[in-house]
Symmetry: C2
Subunit: 238 residues, 2 copies
């Protein structure tokens, strides 16, 4: 959406009625956040999303769209659900956003139709990236998952479903996601689980459960201070 | 699709470019099969699918569409992936199907466009239902997953992804799916796992793994013949 703002998107180029939204989870070792855009002069908060061109695959559109809207490149996005409810059809909301950006809602009438949205999520370290808002948005910021602003349309449902998906099979997802250093302590791993599950876990039970899963390799101790207190380092089995 | 065949679907009623496909897994306690349609006089085999009306939710369209195309009612369908590749755009295939059914591909030109398909799966006991083909199809039959006919478009990819999804978190899925009687033996459970995973499992390792998961309740023994051989019955913890 870096085109001239007044001829934002050419309707003929895009598949009508089809949108995507992305839930970008950010994690810094302790806290779980989500990336949210605020549209100019509207008070409307939204997930970064976009549309799909006739001549590009859905996955390509999502990857490119996220980069244009947030400035974030090369994120591994995973599709998790397609939202096709009728309550997400609220043309006045898109009209408000277009008008606040001085874009004709008559010429861009296709954007006021009902959209089905394919949703993707990613999990990245938010200290690695500095998101930048596109022309449609005032700001783009990380918000803690338990203190999100009120999101437009069904975007809170999309976040909830993304969180539910992320929490399922968390071991397998963490192995692929490079959120932890190659070697980490059991405490580091517990902090990831606690942030994503949104709950405190009991240390010895957590450790026992993880070791039983047979997904970790134990390495040397992490020598930092008194050697007798040094915790073991672990890595994921490949 | 029970409308008059020559005016199959009114283009104005349907969201353009949006389809759905369903992978209906059938299981009878031992074998895993999939429901496949064969289109009249085309040699084309396909998953049961359909389109979404402007005034209905995606989920409603899928549920109704499956019933119309297969005669199967009240199946719990779970969405698993949306397919948006460019290789699935092959207008000549849809044209062949329409013409074989004496339906004008000129009047139904919208059906020759690129479609994004939202895919759903279900797992049912195939001895419980008798599928019936709709007007577009010659036949609808259960095929063993390892001997499917060549499927049109990307339908084999859709089946593969459905199978992958089903195999993940299988315990949790089985608990909800009523494929087993309320009480079952460890052997019954092993047969379900073997059919869905497509591999033989070692009896004692399987039993140990299942008992370690803490998802089963042990009940009385199944008395059939010699009591000393009677296996225990189990149910899933609620």
């Amino acid at each position: 959406m870096k085109e001239n703002k007044n001829q934002l998107l050419s309707p003929a180029e895009y598949i009508p009625h089809l949108a995507f939204d992305s839930v970008i989870f950010g994690f810094n070792g302790r806290e779980l956040k989500i990336l949210v855009l605020e549209y100019h002069n509207t008070g409307l908060f939204a997930l970064p999303g976009g549309f799909v061109k006739h001549n590009e695959t859905l996955d390509t559109a999502v990857k490119k769209g996220l980069e244009v809207r947030t400035g974030i490149k090369d994120v591994y996005l995973e599709q998790f659900h397609t939202f096709g409810g009728l309550s997400r059809f609220q043309p006045e909301i898109m009209k408000t956003i277009l008008e606040a950006n001085h874009i004709s809602s008559v010429e861009n009438e296709w954007m006021l139709k009902r959209f089905i949205s394919v949703a993707y999520y990613a999990l990245i370290n938010f200290t690695d990236v500095k998101p930048t808002p596109d022309a449609l948005a005032d700001s783009i910021d990380w918000y803690a998952i338990d203190s999100l602003p009120k999101l437009m349309l069904d975007h809170q449902d999309i976040v909830n479903k993304a969180l539910e998906t992320l929490r399922e099979n968390l071991d397998r997802k963490l192995i692929g996601m490079n959120l932890l250093p190659n070697k980490f302590t059991m405490k580091d791993l517990q902090l990831v689980y606690e942030a994503i599950l949104g709950t405190k876990l009991e240390r010895t039970a957590f450790q026992r459960k993880m070791l039983n899963k047979d997904i970790l390799v134990r390495h040397e101790k992490l020598f930092s201070g008194g050697a007798h207190k040094a915790p073991y380092l672990y890595s994921f089995k490949s």
